[in-house]
Structure formats: structure tokens, C-alpha cells
Subunit: 253 residues, 2 copies
DNA sequence: TCAGGAAAGTGAACGGTGTAAACCGTAAAC
DNA sequence: GTTTACGGTTTACACCGTTCACTTTCCTGA
């Protein structure tokens, strides 16, 4: 509260160093090298223990760059949606989803860092927030925008299992729930279902636990979307949506 | 070809050492320790380089114990099914699936080792075989047994996308396809869909990228099953199957 | 039976990792 | 202008996977 004073010179310097840490880390990842404190430090022209002035541990470094990677990637997902008209809510959602899948396949190491490093029990809450912060926020936001427009059927609070009801009424994950009436919280359950579906295919593809030809063609991804879109009231729109998705799959491939 | 001679003493000794390597590794994992060559060696009362007489690298050690862990866990999944009558094909499949989920939640490190370590491009084929060897074989076998019994609808070869058609006609994954006529290969696509669904929820739960209350209750797992069983022609059987699944979820929890 | 040889295991060493402690100059703060 | 604290270095420790040279042991073939 009160006036937030402008950052002092030292604070700016410090912020710049954080940026350089992230930049060096991302370069390492992009070059296929291991992400290690020493490698990051070396690339910055600094010795390893110096990084402990900025992160308390290796895990914290990982969390930091994971957060930033997710943030940067989300810009791409949003840009993909912006190729479509603002009122094509379904198209925007599916196109962002496809961009997510393409990014994951093209950057498996980054995907693993963000979405496949187990959540520690200690800083659990914070990690949860980080995990779904950017990309999750975008996708749930797009799902909500779609629903605001079409008001497709959603599960009612009564029909939800007790644990799920609690979870959607007081969500841990910072999804788009502000101003969502309790009767409309079934939408949050749809968020979670959709995220589960998307995470499932993409993780399976990235880790390669699937026939390479199926991965390369993206047919399992398309199939997963096809089975899910009816829950968003988009069954009739599927042919058009499929075309949009396949265009994106082909171009990036 | 010809007579397979009985193993000499040295070969028996060597085999026993392999067993001890796996045993020591699994003990380490179970105790929450890191799996490392040195730790395994120390536990065996041996020095680290000695292990190189048995595995060519650390990665090969990981592959070895991953394979054995999967094999051992599968025995449990099969045992879970054996609590049901031999002709309750649907029940057996869902109960084994539930056992898989419970095992993964209870042994996250082991699950990660088997199902979340990226497939190397080099020994790709071999790794694929390992990956889905035991547990995958069991579940696809159960799906096939179910279909042999009910002959529920399956996708026809013509309606499958080209890449998928190739993949089911000449599968990389050693699923239950022997003696499966080309016209029946749509079943393999169902295998893959089912595996994707199962892997998705379970991986998400294990890695904790989901509301803890939803994980703990298992509601997302149940919901995933509910949405999938109709593809196996089991829509009418769902109430009974749900009861079976929930019993198992509650008991192990 | 005995010599030869392969197999199994050891010790030391190299380069790599995360992390802790002690230390120091310099730049900000009073 | 003194004091303080920040950002950095050096050194060190305990691990890690891996290689190499060497020894011991046991099996095999003449």
C-alpha cells in the first residue's frame, strides 16, 4: 500500500542478472546441453557459487527457468490464436492447444522441465501456481471465453463428486475463476478434464512411449481432440476445427 | 538351434549377480534414495567399476531395473484381476487398470523410471519393447480377451488415418496382435487410445500437476475411465465397473 | 595334471556435479 | 565519511559416471 517507489539502481542491476541467468539457461537447453549451475555460471562469465546469491539451490534455478520458459512459450500460443478472428472462440482454443503440442514436440527438454519435474511436497503450493501459471491460464481463459459466448452445458455442482466440488469451489490452480458463480463452477471441472487430456497425449508423445509413426502424424493428438470437443458443445463445429488443427500440424512439421 | 545346453556354473553365478543388482537397485528406490552406480555397488559390497562387467553404462542399469520393476509390478496387476471370475473380462481389465494407477501413486519414483524417462533415439526399438513389455502386454491382452468375448464395435481399417493404419498393421509395440486379422486391427487403435488415456491421468497425478484433493480422491481417474469404457461397448456395465474400481481405490488408500 | 586364458574385481584417477564456508572489494546507506 | 551489506572469488567437500591398469580367481583345454 502507499506509493511503490521506483527501483533503485542495485535492484535494477539485480533484476538484470536474473534475466541473464534465465537467458543463459535457455541457451544451454536450446543447445541440447545439460542445465547445471556450473554451466550457467560459466556462460555468464562467473563462478558457480556466485549464483547462490540469486537462487537458493539448483531446484530453485530449475523452477525459475521453468516458469520463464512457460511464460515465453505462452506468448507463442497466444500469437497462434491471434491469427483467428477474435470471436472464433473455439478456433482460438484449438489452435492454441495445437501450438502447445507442437512446441512440446519441438522442445522436449523444455517441456520436461516445466511439466514433468515432480512437484516437491515442501513448496507445493508455490510450485502449483508456477506450473499452470501462464499456459494453463491462457487455455482456461480461452475455454471460459468460449463458454461465456455459447453457454454450452456444464456439469452441475450437485452431480460433481464431493472432492471435485470442493476443488472447483476453492481452486488451488489459479485458473480463470474470478467472478464465476458457484453454479457455474462445473466449468472448472471441464478445465481439469481438458488439461488432463491434453497433458496425457502430449506427454506420451514427447516421452516417445508410442509408435513413432503415430507421433509423427499427430493422429493421436487429433483423435484426442475429436473425442473431447463434444464436451464443449462443439460437436457440430468439429470438421472446421479439425481443418484448422491439421493445417497447423502440417505447417510446423 | 540344436540342444540348448544347461547353464554352466559361471553363467549361473553371473545371473545371480544380475538379480542382486536389480534387488539392490529396487531397495534403494524403495528407500527414497537416488539410483546410482556407486550406491548400488556399495550395497552389494562391491566397488563401482565392477558393475561395468554387467552393464555398459548407467543408462543401461536404469533400463535393466526399469524392465524388472515393470515385470514385477505387472504380477500385481494380474493378481488384482485374478480376484475376479475368469469370464469377467471387463471387470478384470478395469481392476488391473486401477491396480496400475494405485501402484504408480504409491511408487512415483519407480513409475517415473519406467514410464517417464525419455526414449533414447539410439536404442529406440529396444527401449520401445521394454517400455510396454509387461504391463502393456497385460492390459492389451485383457482388452483383446474382452473383445473376443463381446465383439464390440471397433474402427474399420478404412476409416483409420493412413499413418494409424500402417501402425496397426505392422505394430512396433509388442501388443497382442498375433492372429489378429487385418480387418480386426482397429482393435490395436483402441489399445493405443486406452493406453493414452491411462498414461495421461496417471502421469498427471504422479507428477502432481493437479489439485491434490482431486488426486487423493481419484475422481479424475474414475472420470477418465467413465468416458472411455463406452468405446469398449461397456456403457451399460459402467455402474458395476465403477463400484469395482471405487472399492479398489478406497482399500489401497 | 598343469599351463593358459578369460572373467571378475580392485584401486587410483579424471572430469563433472551441487553445495558450504571463509574471505574480500566495492558500492550503497546513514 | 564511516558502516554495512551485497556480489563476487577461492577453496574445499562429497558425491557422480567412467576409464585404465592391475590383480586375483576360476574354468578350460591339451
Amino acid at each position: 500500500m502507499g506509493t511503490l517507489r521506483e527501483p533503485t539502481r542495485r535492484e535494477r542491476q539485480r533484476e538484470a542478472t536474473y534475466d541473464e541467468i534465465v537467458r543463459a539457461s535457455r541457451e544451454l537447453l536450446a543447445e541440447g546441453a545439460e542445465l547445471s549451475l556450473r554451466a550457467v555460471a560459466a556462460r555468464m562469465g562467473v563462478t558457480a557459487p556466485a549464483l547462490y546469491r540469486y537462487v537458493a539451490s539448483y531446484q530453485e534455478l530449475v523452477d525459475l527457468v521453468a516458469y520463464e520458459i512457460d511464460k515465453a512459450a505462452t506468448i507463442g500460443f497466444r500469437a497462434a490464436a491471434d491469427e483467428l478472428p477474435e470471436d472464433d472462440y473455439a478456433g482460438r482454443l484449438l489452435v492454441s492447444t495445437t501450438a502447445f503440442r507442437q512446441w512440446a514436440l519441438a522442445s522436449p527438454r523444455e517441456f520436461g522441465l516445466v511439466f514433468a519435474n515432480p512437484v516437491a511436497d515442501a513448496a507445493c503450493v508455490r510450485r502449483e501456481q508456477l506450473t499452470l501459471a501462464s499456459s494453463g491460464h491462457l487455455l482456461t481463459g480461452q475455454m471460459r471465453a468460449l463458454w461465456e459466448h455459447t453457454h454450452h452445458p456444464i456439469p452441475s455442482l450437485e452431480e460433481l463428486p464431493a472432492a471435485v466440488r470442493e476443488s472447483v469451489l476453492d481452486p488451488v490452480i489459479p485458473a480463470e475463476v474470478e467472478g464465476l458463480a458457484p453454479a457455474e463452477r462445473g466449468l472448472v471441472w471441464l478445465y481439469m478434464q481438458g488439461w488432463t487430456q491434453l497433458y496425457g497425449v502430449v506427454a506420451l508423445e514427447v516421452f516417445g512411449h508410442m509408435d513413432p509413426r503415430v507421433i509423427e502424424s499427430g493422429e493421436m493428438f487429433v483423435d484426442t481432440l475429436r473425442h473431447f470437443v463434444p464436451r464443449l458443445g462443439l460437436a457440430d463445429d468439429w470438421p472446421r476445427l479439425e481443418r484448422l488443427v491439421r493445417e497447423r500440424l502440417a505447417s510446423a512439421q
